[in-house]
């Protein structure tokens, strides 16, 4: 899922300062799961903002609404009337959701309420970890299901750097060395042969380096 984190209240407050009527729009999928922008967060944020502005005697009206997915037009439509009633929309969706909204509502001010952080998993309650950079050419088969593009701090494709110590990355003792994990796993699977393979320089074209990406499914075009 997309992992995001709500922006600090002070930053949100400054963004909203010019407006009287604001729609706080939650998103019911990824950001809900990581406690950044679902229904509960939208409600709490609304109350917190009214209180914060109240303390400096500025009145602000907030309306809270959550749609299932802000990255999908069919769900976005449900917010049309609420958007029209307000001067600005504080979107709690990921960056894709905010932009999908901006695309649909040409005349509305769209403000991001969360910092979109990474594609990750819920590793244990309260802990989300980055697992994939969406590089567009997945090599997890070679690396035993552990991604060096994302999880090795130096994106090394041919084995660990000289900084790996006790299974931890040179960057921080809190980060597992991806290569230690890859080696352990491939060894356990009896696939050590993969470790000897020379991995040529990666083609980054399917990734960020190629400009904005598109996926066209001809079979689904109507």
């Amino acid at each position: 899922m997309i992992v995001a984190k709500q922006k600090p209240i002070a930053e949100i407050k400054e963004m909203l300062r010019p407006y009287q009527k604001v729609l706080i729009l939650g998103c019911g999928t990824c950001v809900k799961t990581c406690f950044a922008g679902g229904e509960d967060e939208a409600a709490t944020l609304g109350a917190a903002l009214r209180l914060a502005f109240g303390q400096e005697s500025k009145s602000i009206e907030t309306e809270e609404l959550t749609v299932e997915r802000q990255c999908e037009d069919a769900f976005i439509q449900e917010a049309a009337q609420a958007v029209a009633r307000n001067e600005a929309v504080l979107s709690l969706a990921c960056g894709a959701g905010v932009q999908a909204m901006a695309r649909r509502f040409a005349k509305s001010v769209l403000l991001p309420g969360v910092n979109t952080t990474f594609i990750g998993v819920l590793e244990k309650p309260g802990l989300f970890t980055e697992e994939c950079s969406g590089c567009g050419d997945c090599d997890l088969d070679t690396f035993g299901g552990i991604c060096p593009v994302t999880r090795c701090s130096k994106r090394l494709m041919n084995g660990p750097c000289g900084g790996s110590k006790n299974g931890k990355c040179e960057v921080s003792p809190d980060i597992d060395c991806a290569w230690q994990l890859i080696i352990d796993r491939l060894t356990a699977l009896g696939l050590q042969g993969n470790l000897k393979r020379y991995i040529p320089a990666k083609d980054w074209r399917p990734s960020l380096a190629g400009g904005p990406r598109r996926l066209l499914r001809e079979d689904h075009v109507i």
């Binding site: 701090s153 130096k154 994106r155 090394l156 494709m157 041919n158 084995g159 660990p160 750097c161 000289g162 900084g163 790996s164 110590k165 006790n166 299974g167 040179e170 960057v171 921080s172 060395c177 290569w179 230690q180 080696i183 470790l195 000897k196 020379y198 991995i199 040529p200 320089a201 990666k202 980054w204």
Partner: protein
């Protein structure tokens, strides 16, 4: 003063000599005097001088520029290059440029992560890794082609080096990675500083067993300690470093100038031990802002005059 011929370091090693190289960190500024000074210290006691590339992710005079200053002093440089800061296009262009200016040796590295340096907010590049870089230089040299397959007008005939850290984990994989670098085209290896001799011996034994010491020249890293504090710092704060308790204790037993001497003594003893290990073809001294001590160390280790058999 530009050297027109091939790498002298290569000829020392190919001739069976025990090579001595030393590291020289360029200044954090444009003052070339510092390079000149370090160069003068190192000139007569080593076969080649490594110039670091924004070492520890701190901005310094570029490796290429500092190498040129050394060339002007008649010193053979080893240009270090990290993949952290440049993409493959910039790397290849710098390699070609360096060769055109007389640089004959290069060391391919991934580089310390920028989060450990002075500008952790920087974006890194890591377009390719150090093994890819070795491979690219080898293809440029041996096939005269850049990474796109374009036939170069003039191939950079580099003597290609890489680093290995026998003390990083996992030990079993360090030799696999060495083999990978050799297959990619590396000619010589400079290792992380050796304090833990048993582990280094074990790594060398594994490398010999795989026949790797026949295929690559291995230069063992040496850094003379200056104080117990430095030993402690190296043990805990420097990525990939391994300083055994016994060494730290030994340094803790002495203070001030005595500590500096003790550090030199340890280095001299280590060099003697290293020379006895089959497959070790030289040493690489990383004096870290104490380059003025290198001549004494090399002399005391019985490795003068340079080059020697």
């Amino acid at each position: 003063m530009k050297s027109d011929g091939a790498s002298k370091l290569k000829s020392v090693l190919a001739g069976g000599g025990f090579a001595v190289t030393a590291e020289c960190g360029p200044p954090r500024g444009a003052n070339a005097e510092i390079i000149h000074r370090k160069g003068e210290w190192l000139k007569s006691c080593v076969d080649a001088v490594n110039v670091t590339d924004n070492q520890t992710a701190v901005v310094r005079m570029s490796s290429l520029a500092a190498c040129l200053h050394l060339l002007e002093l008649g010193i053979e440089p080893v240009m270090q290059m990290v993949t952290r800061d440049r993409n493959r296009i910039a790397l290849q262009s710098d390699i070609i440029g360096a060769y055109s200016l007389g640089i004959r040796n290069m060391l391919c590295l991934s580089g310390d992560h920028q989060s450990l340096g002075s500008q952790p907010e920087a974006s890194n590049v890591f377009d390719i890794d150090s093994v890819n870089l070795v491979h690219a230089v080898r293809v440029m040299r041996d096939e005269g082609k850049d990474m796109s397959g374009f036939a170069l007008n003039g191939a950079p005939e580099m003597f290609i080096g890489a680093a290995e850290n026998p003390f990083a984990d996992p030990l079993s994989y360090r030799v696999v990675r060495l083999a990978k670098k050799i297959a990619a085209g590396v000619d010589f290896i400079q290792t992380q500083c050796v304090y833990d001799l048993p582990r280094f011996r074990e790594w060398m034994r594994m490398a010999r067993e795989e026949g790797l010491t026949e295929k690559v020249y291995i230069l063992a890293g040496i850094t003379p300690l200056k104080s117990a504090k430095m030993a402690q710092f190296m043990a805990t704060k420097v990525a990939g470093m391994d300083v055994p308790e016994a060494v730290i204790k030994r340094m803790a037993g002495v203070t001030g100038p005595k500590a500096v001497e003790e550090g030199l003594k340890i280095a001299i003893e280590t060099i003697a031990e290293l020379r006895a290990i089959p497959g070790v073809r030289g040493i690489h001294i990383m004096a870290i802002e104490a380059e003025e001590r290198v001549p004494d160390l090399v002399k005391a280790a019985g490795l003068m005059p340079r080059p020697m058999k």
